[in-house]
C-alpha cells in the first residue's frame, strides 16, 4: 500500500480491500503459521486437547434491528466462528466500548439480549471489559467478543479436505441479515417482513460433524461479503472451481425484492445465522436431511458442487442456463439510484 493512502470504509467491507489490508500490513507483522491460515478460528494444541480460539468486533448500525441487536449478534457471531471450525463453544469474553450519552436502558437491553443468547447456547460470558469514550468518538456502542471451544475429535475440516465432486449445502435462505439491516438503515419500510437470521449455528454444525465425521469437509458462516466471498475463498484456497445453481439457492422473496431495489447482488449480502458446508457427494442427501430436520436448517438446500477440471473460479449457472462468474465483492456495498 502506498504511503499517504488512507483507510476507507471499504477496507472494512470484508471484500478484496479487507484482504489486501490484512495481507500487506497485518500478516507480515504478526508472522505466524496459525494466523496466516486466516481460518475462522485459531486451533491451539494444549496437552491432548485442541482448543479453537476466535475474536470478532461488532459495529453495527442500527444497534437494534428486526430479529436481533448488537448484543445477540456479538454472542452468536463468535459462537458461530467456533462452531464452523468444528468446535463446541465453551466460553466467551465481552468487551464494550460505549459512547458517552448512551441511555443506560439501551445498554441494559443489549446486555440482557446478549445474556439470553449465551444462555440459550449454554455458554457463559466469563470475562470482559468496559470503556467509555467521549461523545462522537464512537457510534453508540461497539462490542468485541472472543471465544474458545473444544475441537470435536470427529472434525476433519479444512480447505485441504475439499476435492472435486463434493457437494455444497447452504443451511437456509441467504441475505436476510444484510438486507434487514440495510433496509432499516436506509429507512425503507420493509421492516415488517424482513427479519435478520441472527442465530447460533452450533446445533447444525455439531450434529453434522458428530454424525458424518470426515464426510464434512469444510464449513463457513457466510457473514460479510456473503456467499460470494465464502465461495471465492474456497475456490482460491483449494484451486478448484465452484459451480452453483441460481435456482437452487434459497432466498426469501422479500429479501430478493429489497436487494433488487437497492441494486445489490444477493450473493454479496451478509448472513448471521447460516452456514455453507462442503460435504462428500455420497453423504450429501443425508446431510441435507439432517439440516432440514433442525428448525434452523429447515430451508437448507444443495446449491452446487466443487467442479472437476475447472479454473479456480466461482460460476453461477443462472435460471436461463447462462453462466457467470461470481467475484469477491470489492468492499462496501453501495445502494444505487433508480
Amino acid at each position: 500500500m502506498a504511503s499517504g493512502e488512507k483507510i476507507l470504509l471499504a477496507h472494512g467491507g470484508g471484500g478484496r480491500l479487507t484482504e489486501e489490508l490484512i495481507r500487506s500490513i497485518i500478516l507480515p507483522a504478526f508472522d505466524n503459521q496459525i494466523l496466516s491460515g486466516l481460518t475462522d478460528s485459531a486451533e491451539l494444541q494444549i496437552g491432548k486437547s485442541s482448543i479453537c480460539f476466535t475474536t470478532d468486533s461488532y459495529v453495527i448500525k442500527p444497534i437494534f434491528f428486526n430479529g436481533g441487536d448488537i448484543g445477540k449478534l456479538a454472542v452468536c457471531g463468535t459462537i458461530n466462528d467456533l462452531a464452523v471450525s468444528g468446535a463446541k463453544p465453551l466460553a466467551i469474553s465481552m468487551a464494550l466500548i460505549i459512547e458517552e450519552g448512551l441511555e443506560i436502558q439501551t445498554l441494559q437491553k443489549i446486555i440482557a439480549s446478549a445474556a439470553q443468547a449465551a444462555k440459550q447456547q449454554n455458554i457463559s460470558i466469563v470475562c470482559g471489559d468496559t470503556k467509555v469514550v467521549e461523545a462522537g468518538s464512537a457510534d453508540k456502542i461497539f462490542i468485541n467478543t472472543s471465544g474458545i471451544g473444544l475441537k470435536m475429535p470427529q472434525a476433519k475440516l479444512g480447505f485441504g479436505q475439499i476435492s472435486p465432486g463434493d457437494t455444497i449445502i447452504v443451511s437456509g435462505t441467504i441475505g436476510d441479515h444484510g438486507m434487514t439491516v440495510m433496509s432499516q438503515r436506509e429507512g425503507i419500510k420493509f421492516e415488517s417482513s424482513l427479519k435478520s437470521d441472527c442465530a447460533a449455528v452450533t446445533e447444525i454444525c455439531t450434529n453434522l460433524v458428530e454424525i458424518f465425521g470426515d464426510d464434512i469437509k469444510f464449513m463457513r458462516d457466510p457473514t460479510r461479503g456473503g456467499l460470494a466471498a465464502a465461495l471465492n475463498d474456497i475456490a482460491g484456497q483449494t484451486s478448484h472451481g465452484v459451480e452453483i445453481y441460481e435456482e437452487k439457492i434459497p432466498v426469501n422473496p422479500t429479501v430478493k425484492a429489497a436487494a433488487e431495489m437497492l441494486g445489490f447482488d444477493i450473493l454479496n449480502i451478509a448472513n448471521e445465522g447460516k452456514i455453507i458446508a462442503v460435504v462428500s457427494a455420497r453423504k450429501a442427501q443425508s446431510c441435507l436431511d439432517l439440516c432440514r430436520s433442525l428448525p434452523i436448517g429447515r430451508d437448507a438446500a444443495i446449491i452446487g458442487t466443487i467442479a472437476k477440471n475447472a479454473e479456480p473460479l466461482v460460476e453461477l449457472i443462472t435460471a436461463v442456463k447462462g453462466r457467470r462468474i461470481v467475484q469477491t465483492p470489492y468492499g462496501r456495498e453501495l445502494p444505487r439510484i433508480c
Binding site: 429507512g187 425503507i188 447482488d265 443462472t318 435460471a319 447462462g322 445502494p335 444505487r336 439510484i337
Partner: protein, 359 residues
C-alpha cells in the same frame, strides 16, 4: 420457458437473415445491463445478436467537472454532502468522494427526502444534495425543491445534473459510425415518460424501441419482439413491461418536473455536449440552487487520457477492447465512468464476464 427461448431464437435468426449481418441491440438502461450479465444472457443468445451496453447509468454519464465541483466543497466544514451511494466512487480530476469520507461530512442517502431530513436535523450546516439521475429520480428532486421552498428551509442546496434519456438516444443515432439497430428501452424510466416518448426516434431513425422489464425472460421476449420487427421491416414502439407503462406516462411526475426544471445543453461523460439533455432548477428555486448560492465552479471535462468509455457507451467497442480495461481501470481504481457504478458497462463486464478476456 424453453418454448419462449426457442421462439426468440427463431425471430433472431429471421432478423439475421433479413439484415444479412449481425444484429446490434442497445440496452439503454444500466439496470438492464446488470440483469443481462447476472443472468448470463450473452451466453444464451446466439452470436448473431449482439447486445450493446448504452449510456443508461446516471452515474456513468456524470461529467468529471461536476464531480470536481462537488469535491471542491468537501473540504468546507460548514457543508454536508448528501449523495446517492454509487456517486462516491466516481472519479473527478482530483479523486473521488470516497477518498474524502474520512471527514464525516459526506452522507450516503437513498432518497431525495433524506436530504431534507438532514437539513432539518443539522440546522447549523449547509446540506448539498448531489442531484443526479434520469427521469426516475428527477421527480423526487422536484418534490424536494418544492417542499424546501414551501417550508422555508434555508440550509438545503440542490446541485442539479439530472439528465434526459431521449436526447442521449438521439445523439447516439446521430453518430456517423453507430452500430445500433434497435433499442431495448428501460421499464422504470418509461413508466414516467410514457412509451410515446420513443415515437420520434422510431419515426426519424426507423429503429425499433421496445420497453421491457428486468427479468431475464422479459428481456428475451423483448428481444424476440425487436427481431420480429427488424425481420419484417416494421420498426415500432412496443411496451412489454406490465400495465405500469402507458403511452402518456406519469403526468403528475412530468408536471412537477416541467414546473421545476429548465432543459439546457449539458455535458455527458464520454459523450460530450448534448443539446437540451440536462435539467437545471428554474429561477424561482434560486435560493436553493447550489450553483448560485455556494459559488460552485463547474468546468466541463476534457478527454480522459486513454479512456474509451465514450466508444463503449456508443456501442462502438466492447469494454475489453479498451487498453485500460482490467489494467489501470479496475472497480477499485476506476478511470472511466463505466467502471464506477455496479451498473456501468465496464464494471458489469469485469464482474461477470472477465473470463472472455482470458480466453
Amino acid at each position: 420457458m424453453l418454448e419462449r427461448i426457442n421462439k426468440a431464437y427463431k425471430q433472431i435468426a429471421r432478423a439475421n437473415q433479413t439484415l444479412g449481418r449481425r444484429i446490434n441491440v442497445m440496452e439503454v438502461c444500466g439496470t438492464h445491463t446488470v440483469s443481462i450479465f447476472r443472468a448470463g444472457l450473452r451466453d444464451v443468445l446466439p452470436d448473431c445478436l449482439k447486445l450493446l451496453s448504452g449510456p443508461g447509468c446516471p452515474v456513468c454519464v456524470t461529467d468529471q467537472g461536476y464531480i470536481d465541483a462537488v469535491l471542491s466543497l468537501s473540504e468546507r466544514d460548514d457543508i454536508i454532502i448528501a449523495t446517492y451511494g454509487d456517486m462516491i466512487r466516481v472519479p473527478g480530476r482530483n479523486g473521488s468522494l470516497e477518498q474524502k469520507t474520512n471527514k464525516g461530512n459526506i452522507k450516503i442517502i437513498s432518497s431525495a427526502q433524506d436530504a431534507l431530513n438532514l437539513a432539518k436535523q443539522m440546522p447549523d450546516k449547509k446540506i448539498l444534495f448531489v442531484a443526479v439521475g434520469f427521469e426516475t429520480t428527477t421527480p423526487a428532486t422536484a418534490v424536494l425543491a418544492n417542499e424546501a421552498l414551501n417550508e422555508g428551509i434555508k440550509n438545503l442546496f440542490i446541485f442539479s445534473n439530472h439528465k434526459l434519456v431521449i436526447p442521449a438516444m438521439e445523439a447516439l443515432l446521430s453518430e456517423k459510425n453507430h452500430r445500433i439497430d434497435a433499442f431495448l428501452c428501460p421499464g422504470h424510466v418509461s413508466v414516467i415518460i410514457g412509451s410515446d416518448a420513443y415515437k420520434p426516434i422510431v419515426e426519424k431513425f426507423k429503429r425499433p424501441c421496445v420497453v421491457s422489464g428486468f427479468e431475464p425472460m422479459q428481456i428475451i421476449i423483448a428481444l424476440s419482439e425487436i427481431c420480429s420487427q427488424l425481420a419484417d421491416g416494421t420498426p415500432a414502439v412496443a411496451s412489454l413491461y406490465d400495465a405500469a407503462v402507458t403511452p402518456q406516462g406519469n403526468k403528475t411526475a412530468q408536471k412537477i418536473t416541467n414546473e421545476s426544471f429548465d432543459i439546457v445543453d449539458g455535458y455527458w461523460r464520454g459523450l460530450g455536449k448534448i443539446a437540451k439533455s440536462t435539467l437545471k432548477l428554474k429561477e424561482k428555486f434560486s435560493s436553493l440552487d447550489a450553483e448560485k448560492q455556494l459559488g460552485i465552479q463547474f468546468i466541463p471535462e476534457e478527454d480522459l487520457s486513454g479512456c474509451r468509455c465514450g466508444e463503449v457507451l456508443c456501442g462502438l467497442i466492447d469494454p475489453v477492447e479498451c487498453g485500460l480495461f482490467a489494467n489501470s481501470c479496475m472497480p477499485d481504481t476506476p478511470v472511466g465512468p463505466c467502471m464506477v457504478s455496479s451498473e456501468g458497462a465496464c464494471a458489469a463486464w469485469y464482474k461477470y464476464a472477465r473470463r472472455k478476456r482470458q480466453n
